[in-house]
């Protein structure tokens, strides 16, 4: 029963991952390629500028796999593994929670999936949104990683606390009052959280980097326009740039918006697919008797197929 439920959750996740891969191939990869083109051009300009100014030139990132690998089997591996893991976690959450609420199994699955979508992705994303390649400084990856995981954990805890609070309050007040109070409490807690955690541009390593080419002071790590920050003209590739003159543009705002929009849609697709497919598989499984193989008792349909009481209304 438990193993089969988990397999159904992970299977629903794998299906969601395949859909996410198709979506990513169509929508994300063209945007990622534009971002990488920008990054390559930017790195070349930065290397030339730093060399001309006699500063240290940052080494290139490793290229272990070709873009052809990364944009096909690479992204497929990541999306399917992530989605299957989330589906399995959803199944575990269902097994722990089921039988405590007077709702249909699939309704519980849908609610847990919504919880996962908000806690694992959307609430952290509001503070630290998804970024395409070219955005994100190598020297801040440790802080950014910690901040992101703190955001994920805190979002999950706050959201769960809000649900518990609403259920407690519902004993004393009407459902509407209970939900409104706990929603306000959640928003206050969440607001404090995202107010306390630093913006990425304010990380000390980023503040310290502002005296280098291409690192102007900013709220985020989105690449700023590269200007000649020296007090003297600089000649790169036969072109002379005056102090303050633009050498290379900042990151394209439309590319960034598209990437983040598709990233959001992709997670909506993943969690919706997991919720619908796992919910359907689970109810079919429970209707078949749960513990026995379907064909054994096919001739005696059980009157109450679901594990949990179905509301009569």
């Amino acid at each position: 029963m438990e193993i089969r439920t988990i397999l159904r959750g992970a299977g629903a996740g794998a299906i969601a991952g395949v859909l996410a891969f198709v979506f990513a191939r169509i929508f994300a990869e063209p945007v990622i390629n534009k971002a990488i083109d920008y990054e390559s051009g930017r790195d070349d300009v930065l290397a030339a500028l730093n060399k001309a100014a006699g500063r240290t030139v940052a080494p290139d990132g490793p290229e272990i796999f070709s873009r052809g690998i990364q944009s096909t089997v690479g992204i497929a591996t990541g999306l399917i593994a992530f989605s299957a893991a989330m589906g399995a976690l959803l199944a575990v959450a269902y097994l722990v929670m089921h039988g405590r609420f007077r709702i249909r199994p699939r309704a519980l699955v849908w609610m847990l999936a919504a919880y996962g979508f908000f806690g694992v992705f959307l609430l952290p994303y509001v503070k630290y949104p998804a970024n395409p390649p070219a955005i994100g400084h190598t020297f801040t990856i440790v802080q950014r990683g910690h901040l992101y995981l703190v955001m994920v954990a805190a979002s999950l805890i706050l959201l769960a606390a809000a649900v518990v609070l609403a259920r407690r309050l519902a004993r004393r007040y009407t459902m509407t009052t209970a939900v409104v109070i706990s929603a306000v409490a959640f928003l206050v807690g969440y607001g404090v959280l995202i107010g306390l955690l630093p913006s990425l541009g304010d990380l000390s390593a980023n503040v310290a980097a502002t005296n280098q080419f291409g690192y102007a002071r900013a709220a985020t790590e989105t690449p700023q326009p590269i200007v000649n920050i020296l007090s003297t003209p600089i000649t790169v590739g036969g072109v002379t740039y005056q102090p303050g003159q633009l050498v290379y543009p900042g990151f394209d705002a439309d590319v960034l918006w598209k990437f983040r929009w598709y990233s959001l849609l992709n997670q909506v697709l993943i969690w919706t697919t997991i919720a619908l497919v796992f919910g359907a598989l689970l109810e079919r499984f429970l209707a078949a008797g749960g513990r026995q193989k379907k064909n054994k008792r096919a001739e005696t349909p059980t009157p109450a197929p679901t594990e949990e009481p179905v509301p009569t209304a």
């Binding site: 029963m1 438990e2 193993i3 988990i6 990513a24 994300a28 990869e29 990622i32 990132g61 490793p62 290229e63 272990i64 796999f65 690998i69 990364q70 944009s71 690479g74 992204i75 497929a76 591996t77 990541g78 999306l79 593994a81 992530f82 299957a84 893991a85 989330m86 399995a88 976690l89 199944a91 575990v92 097994l95 722990v96 992705f121 952290p124 994303y125 630290y128 949104p129 998804a130 970024n131 395409p132 390649p133 994100g136 400084h137 190598t138 990856i141 440790v142 950014r144 990683g145 910690h146 901040l147 992101y148 995981l149 990437f259 598709y262 990233s263 992709n266 997670q267 513990r291 026995q292």
Partner: protein, 77 residues
């Protein structure tokens, strides 16, 4: 659950514990293992060889899942 074929039209199903029923301890173990594996997958897709690295300073996993790491919203270089 198996039913014993009896004479008559309406056999009484034998009441027994399903052979697939799991003990409480086994259920706990299965759920824990699942959570561990799922979190490991989350970690390797989203975090490893970036913020921390379990198997040394290689970039193989990072580079393999690179595009999905960005697209799923994890911090990346």
């Amino acid at each position: 659950m198996t039913s014993i074929p009896l004479h008559g039209a309406n056999p009484v199903p034998e009441i027994s514990i399903s052979p697939e029923a799991l003990s409480r301890g086994r259920v706990l173990a299965i759920l824990s293992i699942t959570v561990f594996l799922a979190l490991a997958a989350y970690y390797f897709v989203g975090v490893d060889e970036g913020m921390t690295s379990l198997f040394g300073k290689t970039m193989v996993i990072h580079e393999w899942v690179h595009d999905s790491r960005h697209f799923l919203g994890f911090p990346c270089h």
